[in-house]
């Protein structure tokens, strides 16, 4: 998760503890859902009739600092207790180590909105499933600094991986690496022929290492260029999703200004993140299939937790202004959450906006 964003979102739910992260340009989202069975004890607290279960976000570095040096942790730590104390504004992480030693970390947290990318794996035309090892061995051929990679389907059901080269790059100075994987390397492959997507490799590598270490098969759901690619890992007690924006085809990327004066598909910048911050809210994944065309406006839920401290609200907004860029936003990658920036004052997107991913039907 730290490969994606600088903040760790903790959301206890009835179905388990969800840890999430998003990158600064909102083009990558990851969530790890640990089922209650994963824990020795899991008490998400009780949500009242008007309040939701408490959730918060902490600085990724602070959280990771508690779990430094994994090899020694494995040897010395017996159990870990995680307590969320809203009234004390502290996330308590207590490690019970050998020799009776107890390490208690009291981390400051911030209240936050629900972080949820909108995606629907059912609507993806293509799906691939492979052991993590196969993909790791494929990816190792690309330089560690490579930003984007293109996954494509070719003749005979073969799958290709190729480094993405910018159009502006000089042909004589660029190196292109392409490799092909046969269909039988995959546990399952149901792909639309001739499809291809380009996504950020750096953000994918983090998940790949995790998948390799936990020996789980990785499933890739993808569709047309421009629609997000979803990587999933499934286990009895763990559900992992990584949603990455993909590059849209230049031909379908219209940059002409739309009517109503609403700006259309600008390059994501820091300002973009600011506006998003104020509109960013839960995208309710509605139950029941929505087989019809995407609704032009989608519900915005900007409710804040009941005991919200005014001071903390300010902090939340200030934090948006000072957003530190994570992954450098690629000009052509769009946000996973909204098609474009909203002009201030307008409550919702106009019908001309192109949406990356419409309401899911709650499957993911």
């Amino acid at each position: 998760l730290s490969r994606i964003g600088d903040e760790l979102y903790l959301e206890p739910t009835e179905s388990g503890l969800s840890l999430r992260a998003v990158n600064s340009s909102r083009s990558a989202f990851a969530s790890f859902l640990f089922a209650p069975l994963f824990f020795q004890l899991y008490e998400p607290g009780s949500a009242g009739p008007d309040t939701e279960l408490f959730r918060c976000k902490v600085h990724m570095k602070s959280f990771l600092g508690v779990f430094r040096s994994l090899p020694s942790l494995e040897k010395s730590v017996g159990k870990c207790l995680i307590l969320l104390k809203p009234r004390a504004s502290r996330l308590v992480l207590q490690l019970h180590c050998k020799h009776g030693v107890t390490k208690t970390h009291n981390l400051a947290f911030q209240e936050c909105e629900r972080l949820q990318a909108v995606f629907d794996t059912q609507r993806c035309a293509s799906r691939l499933c492979a052991p993590a090892r196969v993909l790791a061995e494929a990816v190792v051929h690309f330089p560690p600094t490579l930003a984007e990679v293109t996954l494509g389907t070719g003749p005979g059901g073969k799958i290709s991986l190729r480094n993405y080269v910018e159009d502006e790059a000089e042909p004589s100075k660029t190196m292109v690496t392409e490799l092909w994987l046969a269909e039988d390397e995959f546990q399952s492959a149901a792909v639309a022929p001739g499809s291809h997507i380009t996504f950020c490799l750096k953000e994918f590598r983090g998940l790949l290492s995790f998948a390799e270490a936990s020996n789980l098969p990785l499933t890739i759901h993808f569709d047309e260029p421009g629609r997000p690619v979803v990587f999933t890992l499934d286990d009895t007690v763990l559900e992992v999703h990584l949603v990455l924006a993909t590059l849209s085809d230049l031909k379908s990327n219209s940059r002409s200004p739309s009517t109503n004066g609403v700006s259309h598909l600008p390059a994501p910048s820091d300002d973009f993140a600011d506006d998003l911050e104020s509109y960013m809210a839960a995208m309710e994944t509605s139950e029941g299939g929505s087989g019809g065309p995407p609704s032009p406006t989608f519900p915005l839920r900007t409710s804040r937790p009941a005991e919200s401290d005014p001071e903390e609200e300010e902090e939340e907004e200030e934090e948006g202004e000072g957003a530190v860029p994570g992954t450098p936003p690629h000009k052509k990658f769009r946000s996973l959450f909204f098609g474009s920036v909203m002009t201030p004052g307008r409550p919702g997107p106009a019908t001309t906006q192109e949406v990356l991913a419409e309401d899911s039907d709650g499957e993911c």
Binding site: S62, G65, R68, H99, V101, T102, K103, T104, H105
Partner: protein, 281 residues
């Protein structure tokens, strides 16, 4: 094998002369107190003591008893001089710091007296290096006046339990807070850094605890930057004794066993931090 340096002309004896088969016995201990460039060396018939101080708040002493040396001779009651510890360490490790089994650097140390440089003769594998390090007027040192009768709280811990804790101390915290108490939490190390507070608790019945004599609950804070260098001494040691007196002065004594199984001591004394603010829990 140690070798003898030629005696000084006119039959004078050296104020201090010592020889050591394995210079590492000296260099590793000196490294454990090397947080300042300069150190004061005291030599008496019992052995060598090297003292380093900082900010008038912290003092570290490395003791190498006469028995550790193959030869140890001090002419007068005591010999004192100030010397660059950085240069001394560089010379002692002139043949490199990696310890290959079977090889060691032999050392002979000679000091003619006030105003003379310290002479070092180092030999390894037939190669001899001669070093002359200038000495200086010794400065007045702090006297912490820490004696066992004034100790309020004392614990002795096995070093392995503290090593990781000290190496991973949150350095964004300005202070290290030490709580010692006959009741819970017994022995607690706390930091207050940017991410939040962290507490490390050692119960009195932990198998790391060799001795637990706490009479009074005391919480004291010390500047973390001053105590951090003691991590080196902790890394070398097998046991550490932690004592505080009524004023909150801290004494850390490290028992170090060298390659030949001989015991040496390093101690750190530290004043409590004067800016006392409410402890965050």
């Amino acid at each position: 094998m140690p070798f003898s340096a030629p005696p000084p002309a006119s039959g004078e004896r050296y104020a201090l002369s010592a020889s050591l088969d394995n210079a590492r016995h000296l260099s590793s201990l000196l490294r454990a107190v090397h947080f300042q460039d300069y150190a004061t060396c005291f030599a008496t018939a019992s052995g060598l003591r090297v003292t380093v101080e900082d900010a008038k708040c912290i003092q570290a002493n490395a003791f190498i008893q006469a028995e550790i040396f193959q030869e140890f001779f001090v002419q007068e009651e005591s010999v004192v001089f100030r010397i660059s510890l950085s240069v001394l360490l560089d010379c002692l490790t002139i043949f490199g710091t990696s310890s290959l089994p079977g090889t060691s650097t032999a050392l002979r140390m000679c000091y003619r007296g006030y105003g003379y440089p310290l002479m070092l003769f180092l030999e390894e594998g037939g190669v001899v290096t001669v070093c002359k390090i200038n000495t200086q007027e010794p400065e007045e040192l702090l006297d912490f006046d820490f004696c066992s009768t004034k100790v309020v709280n004392k614990i002795i811990l096995q070093s392995e339990g503290l090593r990781e804790a000290f190496a991973e101390l949150d350095m964004t915290s300005e202070v290290l807070q030490i709580t010692m108490s006959p009741d819970k939490p017994y022995f607690r190390l706390s930091t207050f850094g940017n991410a939040g507070s962290a507490h490390l608790d050692y119960p009195r019945d932990s198998d790391l605890m060799e001795a637990f004599h706490c009479n009074q609950t005391q919480t004291n804070r010390y500047k973390i930057s001053l105590l951090k260098p003691s991590t080196k001494a902790l890394a070398l040691s097998c046991k550490v004794s932690i004592r505080t007196d009524a004023q909150g002065f801290l004494s850390l004594q490290y028992m170090i066993r060298n390659e030949d199984g001989q015991i040496c001591f390093v101690e750190y004394y530290c004043c409590p931090d004067e800016n006392i603010t409410e402890a965050e829990l």
